[in-house]
Every structure is written in C-alpha cells, then in structure tokens.
C-alpha cells in the first residue's frame, strides 16, 4: 500500500466520522433523556403524568401532571401559527413573484435581520410594549397571556417560513408560469391557481419548520406568558409552556430527585413533539422532489 492510499483511507474515514457525528449526538442525547426521564415513571403513572391536571413539583408529595403545560405549549404554538402563516406566505409570494428587484433585496435583508434578533431581546421588547397593549386593548386583568406569547413567537417563526417558502416558489418551473399566462390567466390567477399549488409541499414544509421553531422557543415565552400552570380556556389567559417549565425549574431541582426526573420526562415529550414535526416537514420536502 502506498502512502497515498493510506492518506486517502484516513481522510475518507475522518470525513465519514464527521458525517455521522450529528446522528450519533442525537442518538446519545435521546438515550440520555430516556435514561434520566423514564425514572419518573417509577413513582408516577405515565397516564397521570401526561394527563394530570396539577403541576406542583415541589410539594410533598409532588404532583406531576403536565397536561396544563402541554396545552399551554399547543395554544401558544397554534396562535403563533395562525398569525405567522398568512403573513409569512404572503410575504414569500410578494418577494418571489411580485416585488421589483430593489425592494426584493431590502425585504430579504430585513427578514434575515429579523431572524438574527436574539429571542431574549424580542421577549424584553414584548414585555415593555406588547404586554401593556394587550392588557388595555382587551380589558384584561393582566397582559401576560398566551396571545402576547403567540404574537412574539409569530415574529420568530416568520423568517423561517418566508425563506423556505420563497425557495419553494422559486423552484416551480418557469414553464408553468409561462403556460398559465399564455392561456390568458391574470398575474394573480397564475399565482393563486398554478404557482401556489405547485409549490404547496414546500410551503407546508416551511410552515412545519416554523412551528418547530415556535414550540422549542423558551426565553421569550417565559418572559411574557405569565407561566401559570392552568388549563387555558381562552388565548387571553396566562399559560405555562413545556420549555419555560424546564428553564424555570431546572436550577432548583435537586439532582436525582423526582422533580429532576420529571423535568427530563418533560424534555422527552418536547423531543418527541419536535421530532414529529421535523419528520412531517421532511416528508413534505421529499414529496416535492
């Protein structure tokens, strides 16, 4: 064997290791989560954990029902989706199909900038401006509500949705558009009836990834949703999300205690949810090709 083939061999293997590293890490993280999180089920039944209505982790004995937290996360996510999807998709359509070149560049730069704002800064701005606004507009006792969280998270999901949806719109073959226009369709009819349906799987993937971003967000929601662990009946009530619970309580939990294991179990639930969302997004993306 010459030196060259040995060199080749080593480099190939190194690249292979780098390539599978991310999968190994995900696997290790999941194993660690399972190892720490499943221990809670020695004392709490899985059904009581998932659907229990009370989250009082530091009481004696502690009550570990994450149902209010799951609903809190879902409510904030659904709210953010309802706000960000129409705006995000419309923005992508405008950038990809309508905007003149100069405006397009400005818009794209603006959206990238929006993506670069740290979530704690958005949370801080929300706390100072949005929360009092929500309180006075809806005549609520407090502005720290799921709605405030949804609005701020919508800002965070928007860059993801816009940039991926825009890519999907670009990848629609030009001939589709030319065909539609040649048949006498107007510009709007072409967009609405031809380009959007052709790019639908990519747009759906964009939406799913946006949702994935929202559900994993922690700092901003912790600052502005009020964090009370109740089962919410409206979007104008405070909620406590899964992520905020972990962030707020991990510092206190004594390592090896029931509370500590319960927080890891919350982590497993979150992991499963975001894994599901990512897989769905991936399925949509592959359907496109």
């Amino acid at each position: 064997m010459s030196i060259r083939t040995i060199k080749e061999f080593i480099i190939e293997k190194l690249i292979f290791i780098c390539g599978i590293a991310s999968i190994i890490f995900v696997g290790l993280i999941f194993i660690f989560l399972l190892k720490e999180g499943l221990a809670v089920f020695q004392t709490v039944k899985p059904f009581d954990f998932l659907f229990g209505k009370n989250w009082y982790p530091i009481s004696e004995p502690g009550q570990f029902g994450i149902w209010p937290l799951v609903l809190g996360s879902l409510l904030v996510t659904v709210g953010a989706t309802i706000i960000s999807v129409p705006i995000g998709v419309a923005c992508a359509v405008y950038i990809a199909e309508i905007a003149p070149h100069s405006i397009k560049e400005v818009l794209k730069a603006g959206i990238e900038l929006l993506a670069a704002i740290p979530s704690v800064v958005l949370g801080f701005i929300g706390m100072i401006t949005l929360v009092p606004w929500v309180k006075t507009t809806f005549h609520l006792p407090t502005g720290l509500t799921a709605l405030s969280g949804s609005i701020i998270l919508a800002f965070m999901a928007m860059p993801t949705i816009v940039s991926i949806a825009e890519d999907a719109l670009y990848s629609v073959p030009k001939t589709y558009k030319e065909g539609a226009l040649a048949l006498g369709a107007t510009h709007w009819q072409t967009i609405y009836r031809v380009i959007l349906p052709a790019a639908s799987s990519g747009i759906l993937a964009a939406i799913m990834l946006g949702i994935g971003r929202v559900i994993g967000e922690t700092m901003a929601v912790m600052m502005i949703t009020g964090n009370s662990a109740i089962i919410p009946h409206s979007i104008l009530q405070p909620v406590r999300t899964l992520t905020a619970t972990i962030a707020a309580e991990m510092g206190e939990a004594v390592v090896g205690s029931e509370h500590y294991f319960a927080l890891f179990a919350v982590g497993i639930v979150l992991f499963i949810i975001s894994f599901g969302i990512n897989v769905t997004a991936d399925l949509f993306l592959h359907k496109k090709r």
Partner: protein
Amino acid sequence: MHKIILSMFAVLFCCTSLFAAPAKNSIQVKGSDTMVNLGQAWAEKYMEKNSTEFVAVTGGGSGTGLSSLISNSCDIAMSSRNIKDKEIALAKQKGVNPFEIKVALDGLAVVVNPTNPVSKLTIDQLARIFTGKVTNWKEVGGADAKIVILSREVNSGTHVYFKEHVVRKLDPNSKEEFAADALMLSSSQAIADEVAQNPSAIGYYGMGYISPKQKALHVAKNELSEYEAPTIENVVNGKYPISRPLFLYSNGEPKDLVKKFVDFTLSKEGQEIVLKTDFVPVK
C-alpha cells in the same frame, strides 16, 4: 438587568481567575436572588480590604445555590430558607457537610399598586387571596376587580418561605397550594414592575425592593392584633409577622478564606452593609 450584567462579570472573572491562577485565592458565593445585592456589596467591600483575594457572587435562587454547594461547585451558598432534610441527606451522600450561618433578617413585603384602596390585610386574608379562594378585590374592601396574583418561580427561597408561612399558615400538614392561575415571574424585579403598572395585582418580595411605585401592605397576624408595616424596626422587634432569617451555608465549619469572609459579613462593618441594603442586621 443590572444584576444579570454583574453576575455575568462575576462569571467572566471567575473563569479568567480559574485559568490564570490555580492557587486558591478566590471564593464562589452563589444562591438566593434576594441576597444577591447584599452578597455583591459584601464582596466589593471585602475585596477593597483584601485586594489579593477574589469573591465571586452569583444569583439563581436559594435552591440553585444549595445544589451548587452539594455538588461542590461553590464555596458558600446564600439561602433565604433553611436547608431541607432531603438536601442534607443528599449532601451527606456526596460527602458535603452543610454548615449554617445566620447573617441577616428580611421582612417579606406584600405589595399592591399605589392606586389600590386596600392598605392592610391579615395573614388569613392573604392566604385566601394567594390560594385563589378570594378572587375579587371587593371581598377584602377594595374595588370591583379581579385579583391578579404574582408569585416567584419555584426555584426561589422567597416562594418557599411565603408558601410555608402565609399560604399554609405554618401548618406542616396543610396541603394548600398557590392558586394555579398565579402568574409565576422569574425575579423580584419583574414582580415590582408588574405591580407598579397593574392596579389589580398583588405580589410579595423582600423589603429591599419596596419603592414609591408600589404600596407595601400593613399585615396583622389575625384580626385581633395590630396591623404592622414592613419596616426594619418592626422586623427587629418581631412585630411584623412575615419576616425570615437569611443564611450562608458552607461545607463544614468555615475555614481559611471562607472563614475570613464569613467573619467579615458578621463583623460590625459587614452588618452595616446589611442595613444599607435594606435588610435587618442580626447583631
């Protein structure tokens, strides 16, 4: 914000000192957010006098400080509550021997917005409010508005103390909890800000956070006793019903640097700093 920046600096400093000077001339103090300002003030004064030594003070909550002490990642834990039996057991398991030093007293103020007509409540009324049995201000003599309960997160010693002494009224068998719809805020400052701008909010925190933007309620043990304001005088003479001791915990009896720092906090000078940061001296 101030505190966060300060603690960031502290972390940064202790990182650099870790790399630069392996010789042990610094101590890590960590824990109660209530005590973080006090700890910083002590550390500054102490380092002024002993310029070769370094004291890093960070917050995070009493529970955070005690878990750091147990896992040996800090030298002194600041705590606004007694260490729990569970934590002692865990510490023993890891070969750590928590040693308790009482360094100051703190009155816990219950605050409302200055526009709120209510200015005095009994412990029993407070318990009913914070457990969600009383939900409207008019039931305790205020305006017709829903009560917005503000509480600290569960990692806070203030939360635990308030739960034991007010919500459960010191009854160890009580199963009472904070109302589920209480808003959980992550710092005393957040509670102060929300109370300042929300006319129907009620919250609690250490006396040091009281400012003219909030109104501290006068509190009575029961209907028959006097309503007392949370002032240093009333805490010292024991008239104000919601006051608590503040502790430092070290691993075993303090020695070397830790002893020097603890002795400083209990010295005349250290106790003057206690008074300056709006807590109550023990000596």
